[in-house]
């Protein structure tokens, strides 16, 4: 998931060409375009994973038969869910997520959006009938038991909002023994909303995410099945998915699975059969206006087919998406571990459908761009990299996004900074214009600074002060604290720690402590002092040069009015540099002091006391003093007070004032047009 607040940077330009009206998959992109799938039965690829050793403990097996009504934006489906009871205990009550019911005005989700907004909506966003979404269970049967529709009970484990229907539970007459399986057959109807939050439709585009009843996760000896909130995402078990989708023949589709067959039906529809293994979700997309772009990449685990679906007007971004994706595949493979799936689908939402963009599902990601995206604004690249990164942090290392959102969003934001800096330059990986630049690490830091002291990263996602704090802390602070952690343990060690964490915990549900302990294990250091402050606390890190000054040792003697250059060399100065811990975060810092004779002194302070003073007596005056000269302590709230230069340099201020003066003059003249 990625915040989509880039609109302010967009520059409007006129473009010639482009497509008008609905496009079909016959649009060609060089030699790589996929024409619409031919009629009759087509085995597009063998069932993925057939004969392969399972990568995960497969607890769930979903078998879904769904039919899309493209005109009404509804899905009618039946689901067979086989649940293996590997909890070690008899289980009688089973909770399910019904995420689509969040798009009702009295739901917990909408109530929270009205309070503090969310990724695509501010509190005053409009709400119209087309924004309603729902999922209705018409029938629930259990194999060997019968119809339990009447036993369904909506619950609200988080806030007791009885209007919220995003979780229901059903209690069986008899428990399911440990090791046994239970089969649920659920008939349901979806009403997709016009895309509000990740899922829905926009004109002829459909993005179906979280569209089927999903069983909760047995975790830490209890059922974990939270309501859907404004700032939460998802949590589910690994398993297999076999899904049949029946939809109009002119739809170009993509899914988070391998296409097994494509059969045209006499009524103008087609039925696509998908299969996926060792994943915990199934999503799909369809639009008659997509242009498909195909490619492939080969890594340490084999060849990955890349299936990219571009919306009208955005085809110029396809190459940018591809470059970012392949670069991310390569670096993740080298640094953290292999990508084991044989496919990845990239969905480009249409204009106006950005709320479906910037989202991740196992082996399917949604991107974001616009028809006039400038080359120097790296939004398409950042979004693709970030959502691909989620294939690792969330897709394979399947942490609880409700309770520990920092483990996927935060770690992913950290690896985003590393990958983007590697691919696009440390200072230009977000913005790269001749007149302005910005790097990803800096952008993460600024995100954190927008709300640095209200919530710790470990807060449950729906309990943050607001959506801004959730975003700033979960993404920005986690990334920044991990970037700062590199200063303590080293960049290479950090990479090895993440590699170890990935390889050890992929296809499982690790916790925050699992992650932190892995870092300590790999680094061989006790880092609790850091984690207690940065991860579990809200301490603010801010060190400043309080004072830096040189005074003549013989200050009591008058200086000659005309100076005496022969005596200047012998002049002795007492220099004092005071460093102050302004914030409540204790962190060891380096201080570099430069003198006018070219000498440099590097001090190291444990940062525990409130201040420290360094004094020097030498034949030179101070030139500058700087805390953290390597600029590695990104958690520092204020980088401007980290240094002091004895000789004033107003160059930057002059530059800013020229720009400001120009803007003032021009705006004043523009306003005077009315005279």
């Amino acid at each position: 998931m990625r915040h989509l607040g880039w609109a302010a940077f967009l520059v409007g330009t006129l473009a010639l060409g482009g497509t008008f009206g609905g496009g079909h998959a016959s649009n060609t992109i060089q030699a790589q375009v996929q024409a619409p799938a031919p009629a009759a039965t087509t085995a597009a690829s063998p069932a993925a994973g057939s004969g392969h050793q399972p990568l995960s403990t497969r607890i769930v097996a979903y078998n879904i038969d769904a039919k899309l009504d493209a005109a009404k934006h509804t899905i009618t489906a039946s689901e067979t869910l086989t649940y293996r009871n590997l909890t070690g205990q008899p289980q009688q009550t089973f909770p399910f997520h019904l995420y689509l019911n969040a798009f009702q005005p009295q739901s917990t989700f909408m109530t929270e959006v009205r309070l503090s907004g969310t990724r695509g909506n501010d509190p005053n966003s409009g709400w119209e009938p087309k924004h309603y979404g729902s999922i209705k269970v018409n029938k629930l049967e259990v194999e060997g038991v019968g119809d339990l529709t009447g036993k369904m009970e909506f619950i609200q484990p988080d806030d007791r909002n009885t209007n919220d229907r995003t979780v229901f539970q059903v209690t069986l007459p008899k428990p399911v023994a440990p090791g046994a399986s239970v089969q649920f057959r659920i008939a349901f109807d979806d009403q997709l909303p016009e895309v509000v939050e990740r899922t829905g439709y926009k004109r002829d585009f459909i993005m179906a995410g979280q569209w089927f009843p999903k069983v909760g996760v047995w975790w830490k000896n209890a059922w974990n099945c939270h309501q859907f909130h404004a700032t939460t995402e998802f949590f589910a078990d690994f398993g297999t998915f076999d899904v049949k989708l029946t939809l109009p023949q002119n739809e170009v589709t993509g899914a988070s699975a391998d296409l097994v067959s494509n059969i045209n039906n006499p009524d103008g529809t087609k039925t696509l059969t998908y299969h996926s293994e060792d994943v915990h979700d199934f999503s799909w997309t369809a639009s008659p206006s997509f242009t498909a772009v195909e490619d492939e990449w080969t890594g340490s685990a084999g060849t990955v087919k890349i299936h990219m679906l571009m919306s009208p007007g955005n085809i110029s971004s396809a190459a940018r998406y591809m470059t970012a994706l392949k670069g991310s595949l390569r670096l993740f493979d080298e640094w953290y571990g292999p990508y084991p799936y044989d496919r990845i689908t990239v969905v480009d939402p249409p204009h106006g459908g950005s709320d479906a963009g910037g989202m991740e599902y196992p082996t399917l990601i949604t991107a974001d761009t616009s028809w006039n995206m400038p080359k120097g604004l790296l939004v398409p690249e950042v979004v693709v990299e970030h959502e691909f990164g989620h294939q690792y942090w969330y897709g394979m290392v399947a942490t609880n996004e409700f309770e520990e959102a920092w483990l996927d969003e935060g770690i992913n934001s950290y690896t985003e900074a590393k990958v983007m800096d590697e691919l696009y330059g440390k200072k230009t990986s977000v913005l790269n214009f001749p007149f302005a630049q910005m790097g990803n690490s800096d952008q993460q830091r600024l995100s954190y600074l927008s709300r640095p002291d209200t919530d710790p990263v470990t807060r449950f996602a729906w309990q943050f002060y607001g959506s801004n704090s959730y975003g700033g802390v979960t993404y920005g602070k986690t990334a920044t604290l991990l970037l700062t952690l590199e200063k303590i343990i080293g960049e290479d060690t950090m990479r090895r720690a993440l590699h170890t964490y990935f390889m050890r915990y992929r296809f499982t549900h690790p916790t925050g402590e699992d992650f932190l302990k892995t870092i300590e294990e790999v680094s061989g250091k006790n880092l609790r002092w850091y984690f207690d402050q940065a991860v579990y606390g809200t301490n603010i890190l801010d060190y400043e040069i309080l004072k830096a000054h040189s005074d003549r040792l013989n200050w009591y003697e008058k200086k000659s009015a005309f100076g005496d250059s022969s005596k200047d060399k012998d002049q002795v100065y007492r220099t004092s540099v005071s460093v102050h811990r302004k914030g409540d975060f204790v962190f060891p810092v380096d201080i570099e002091i430069k003198f006018t004779d070219g000498q440099t002194v590097l001090e190291h302070w444990d940062g525990r006391d409130r201040w420290i003073r360094y004094e020097y007596v030498r034949n030179a005056k101070i030139k500058s003093a700087e805390i953290d000269p390597q600029h590695q302590v990104l958690l520092d709230r204020d980088l401007f007070n980290n240094s002091y230069v004895e000789e004033e340099d107003p160059h930057a201020v002059h530059k800013l004032s020229h720009i400001w003066l120009f803007a003032n003059e021009w705006l004043a003249q523009l306003l005077s047009w009315i005279t």
Partner: protein
């Protein structure tokens, strides 16, 4: 027959000959701009002048440093209310001096300060009334613009491709800009008439100006539009050059280039004023051209006697 000078080139020449007007107005623009930015400069200076972090703004232009400055509690970059005040002051200044500027161009003579300000004051309240009329005329334009906005939203919402809305936006922008230019031209001529003919009644000046523009729309609009186009082009090219090709460390050069853009922008507006004044003077001399002198017809003497 004497060939009349073309007003497009003649207007430029007039601005050049009377460049004292240009530099005078520019000086006020510059000084008020300095006053408007002074507070920001002082506040930013306390943060940046002794900090090594400032180098990220000097060698290149790191946007995260700017954002970091904006996020500081002391708000060093945020413009204060004085910023807007000095802009409004400049607008009031321009309103005041328009009478003197037009008089100077219309007479095509160097006006000493006294007569210049006398002309400014003489016409000031007339131009204030014209400003009120201008605001009233802009109301329907504003409503049309809003309607176009709604239509744009509708097209964008329904079209599969983004381009129909883009083309609509471009077309609507052209139409609205055209309308605004016509309105500005109309009021410019009303101001010229007010000065040239000492017309006190602004509704009458507007009526006469409307008739004038309507009857001579082609030549007047083309005159106005050409100069606007040149003004925008030169401004845009200069700013592009400043943004993309100058060294980030440049101060003097950057200041020269940016101020050149400002001066040229101002000069292009004065060029329009001068051309309009010249055009009207030529139009006046054509309308009120005295009848050619003719000799009285000689009548035979016996006819005169017969008349008696």
């Amino acid at each position: 027959m004497t060939r009349k000078p073309r007003t497009f080139a003649a207007g430029a020449g007039l601005v050049w000959r009377r460049q004292r007007v240009l530099w005078w107005i520019y000086a006020v623009n510059l000084v008020l701009g300095f006053f408007g930015t002074g507070g920001m400069v002082d506040r930013a200076g306390t943060v940046l002048n002794h900090s090594l972090a400032a180098s990220r703004l000097v060698h290149g232009f790191d946007l995260s440093t700017i954002v970091g400055l904006l996020m500081r509690p002391d708000d060093p970059l945020t413009p204060g209310p004085s910023n807007l005040f000095f802009m409004i002051l400049f607008v009031a200044f321009m309103l005041f001096t328009t009478g003197g500027v037009i008089a100077s161009y219309f007479r095509d003579e160097r006006l000493p300060s006294g007569p210049f300000f006398e002309a400014c004051g003489y016409h000031f309240w007339r131009f204030v009334r014209l400003l009120v009329y201008f605001a009233i005329v802009l109301i329907p334009v504003g409503l049309v613009t809003q309607g176009a906005g709604l239509l744009y939203d509708r097209i964008d919402e329904q079209a599969i491709s983004p381009f129909p809305a883009v083309w609509f936006f471009a077309a609507a922008a052209v139409v609205i800009l055209f309308v605004l230019m016509c309105v500005r031209l109309w009021f410019d001529m009303a101001q010229v008439i007010a000065v040239a003919d000492d017309e006190r009644r602004m509704h009458k000046a507007l009526r006469r100006a409307a008739t004038l523009v309507r009857r001579n729309f082609g030549s007047l609009f083309w005159l106005y539009f050409r100069i606007s186009l040149i003004g925008w082009l030169v401004f845009g090219i200069t700013v592009q050059f400043w943004k993309n090709y100058m060294r980030p460390e440049s101060l003097g050069g950057a200041l020269f280039v940016s101020q050149f853009a400002i001066v040229f922008w101002l000069a292009s507006r004065l060029w329009q004023r001068a051309s309009e004044a010249l055009w009207y003077r030529q139009h006046q001399s054509a309308v009120f051209e005295p009848a050619p002198e003719t000799s009285p017809e000689l009548v035979p003497a016996d006819s005169v006697a017969a008349m008696r």
